[in-house]
């Protein structure tokens, strides 16, 4: 299992470098460039950094999810692995740990930064309650979950990485557009609930597609 995980880390080196960049760079930019937001330095660094961090989380999870299975199919190294003893379940578990682990680390990192920013913020600077702000940030994490789940599902079916990454980037945008259009044209969901509806739809679809991707990978005999 260790060997499989090490191999998956090595194969997904590029998406993981992107993950590392998006963990650090948003905060580095906030630290280096002074924006006038009416917030003091440290709360601004952590809260705005985490907002950009979640955007990075969406991009990097789309990239990792889209590449995690399809890369080996694209260069046909999946055929090499297919005649070695690890079962499909073990191969999938290793990849799943990498994707879910990365999602947890990115989400945890950015939520911790948000919490830290809120803790350091003067109550008079706060645009809403702490719980509201934490909830909104956690909602942004579901966009990353949607991207990861879509990428994973498409990756379990495709033999190249372009399609899965593209679909993973597209789905959260399509969900947002469709629900916004529905809200303005049909009045459902109403404006107060629109953001929540987008987050719920993204989270649900992300988890569902992740499960479907697992089923598809395990059912398929060909590598």
């Amino acid at each position: 299992m260790n060997a499989l995980f090490w191999k998956d880390v090595r194969i997904n080196r590029f998406p993981l470098i992107v993950v590392a960049v998006f963990l650090i760079v948003p905060y580095a930019i906030m630290a280096a460039i002074p924006f006038e937001t009416g917030m003091s330095y440290w709360p601004r660094l952590f809260i705005q950094g985490s907002a950009f961090g979640f955007a990075g989380c969406y991009i990097s999870l789309a990239l990792l999810g889209g590449c995690i299975i399809a890369t080996e199919r694209a260069d046909r190294s999946a055929e090499f692995l297919a005649y070695l003893p690890p079962s499909k379940r073990q191969i999938l578990t290793s990849k799943g740990i990498l994707l879910v682990g990365t999602a947890v680390v990115m989400t945890g990192w950015n939520l911790t930064a948000t919490a830290l920013g809120l803790a350091l913020m003067d109550p008079s600077e706060m645009p809403g309650t702490s719980a509201e702000m934490m909830g909104a940030m956690a909602g942004f994490a579901t966009i990353g979950i949607a991207a990861a789940g879509t990428g994973w599902f498409a990756s379990s079916m495709f033999a190249s990485t372009g399609g899965p990454v593209g679909l993973a980037l597209l789905l959260p945008i399509v969900i947002s557009i469709m629900l916004s259009a529905s809200s303005s044209l049909l009045g459902w969901p109403n404006e107060d609930w629109l953001q929540h509806a987008i987050f719920i739809a993204c989270g649900t679809l992300g988890v569902t597609l992740f499960i479907l991707g697992c089923v598809n990978y395990l059912r398929r005999v060909e590598p």
Partner: protein, 302 residues
């Protein structure tokens, strides 16, 4: 539960279809343990498809494949622990160094033999620190063989592993395979275009054509009992009765050539009594001639 007394390979009614094309049709094949089985066949005969199905890398449309007593469709991982496989095209991770590829593969086999692995590294002259992507085709083939045999598999499956290799690498590769065969009661299944390689290694031969097994016999028996008959037909006469066991026949003017299996002296007198022939001449066949006659005969009857 693994049945240790079961044949190394037992294929029952194995079938694979791609749309309307049947690549392997109701194939029945039993390879006993300790056999070195050479699978011959022209391009597109279904050799690689059969091997991929028995390695659990391709879905089976009908029938079943039992390898070392394990039903491949049910638990391919159990089977793969005890089988070494060398494909025609090698897709070992190109970014791995030779030593890394060895460490990676070794981690999956409790039976890995470090001593044998080092011996093969020396024999094949493989540079441990070089990346797989930088190795020549021959080197990658030798690495693939090393990875397949260092865990001392009970069954070694080689799918045209020597195609495109130069004669020197071929020789080294064959030495490696022979090393495996000589180490105890190993079973080897290999498919090849090279009849010389099959003749050198195999003790049993199977000929596959359009997904069907035309013959499956011990090599010595096959070569010893399959003969070419050349009969001279009487003027204006045509063959009337084909002898039993005729694989292929060809008539050119008065010369009637036949290849027959399970030849016996009685066959000559029978041929003469049932047909208007003046003289019959019997010759031995090489494996290559025999292979060609089987395939041509199958094409004739198709």
């Amino acid at each position: 539960m693994i049945d240790q007394s079961a044949p190394a390979i037992d294929l029952q009614g194995l079938t694979k279809r791609y749309g309307k094309t049947t690549a392997v049709a109701d194939l029945n094949l039993t390879i006993p343990r300790g056999t070195t089985f050479g699978l011959l066949g022209p391009n597109g005969a279904g050799k690689s498809t059969t091997i991929k199905m028995l390695m659990g890398m391709l879905s089976i449309d009908a029938g079943r494949a039992i390898v070392l007593g394990v039903n491949v469709a049910e638990s391919p991982s159990d089977m793969k622990q005890r089988v070494g496989y060398v494909p025609e095209l090698h897709y070992i991770y190109r970014w791995m160094r030779v030593a890394e590829a060895i460490t990676f593969v070794k981690s999956f086999y409790p039976t890995w033999n470090d001593e044998l692995c080092d011996e093969l590294l020396d024999l094949f002259d493989l540079p441990s620190s070089k990346k797989v992507g930088k190795l020549s085709k021959g080197m990658v083939a030798k690495l693939s063989l090393l990875l397949a045999i260092s865990h001392e598999p009970e069954l070694l499956v080689l799918d045209e592993p020597m195609s495109g290799l130069d004669p020197l690498v071929r020789e080294e590769f064959l030495d490696g395979v022979l090393k495996t065969i000589c180490r105890g009661d190993r079973t080897v299944l290999f498919s090849s275009h090279s009849i010389d390689d099959v003749q050198r290694l195999a003790d049993h031969v199977g000929i596959l054509f359009r997904g069907k097994l035309l013959v499956n016999r011990p090599l010595d028996d096959l070569l010893g009992s399959t003969k070419r008959l050349r009969a001279v037909l009487r003027d204006g006469c045509l063959p009337q009765q084909l002898p039993a066991g005729t694989i292929w026949q060809h008539v050119q003017r008065r010369e009637w050539s036949l290849t027959v299996e399970r030849f016996s002296e009685d066959l000559i007198s029978k041929l003469q009594s049932e047909n208007s022939v003046e003289a019959v001449d019997v010759t031995d066949l090489s494996l290559e001639e025999l292979f060609k006659d089987y395939v041509k005969g199958a094409r004739q009857s198709a």
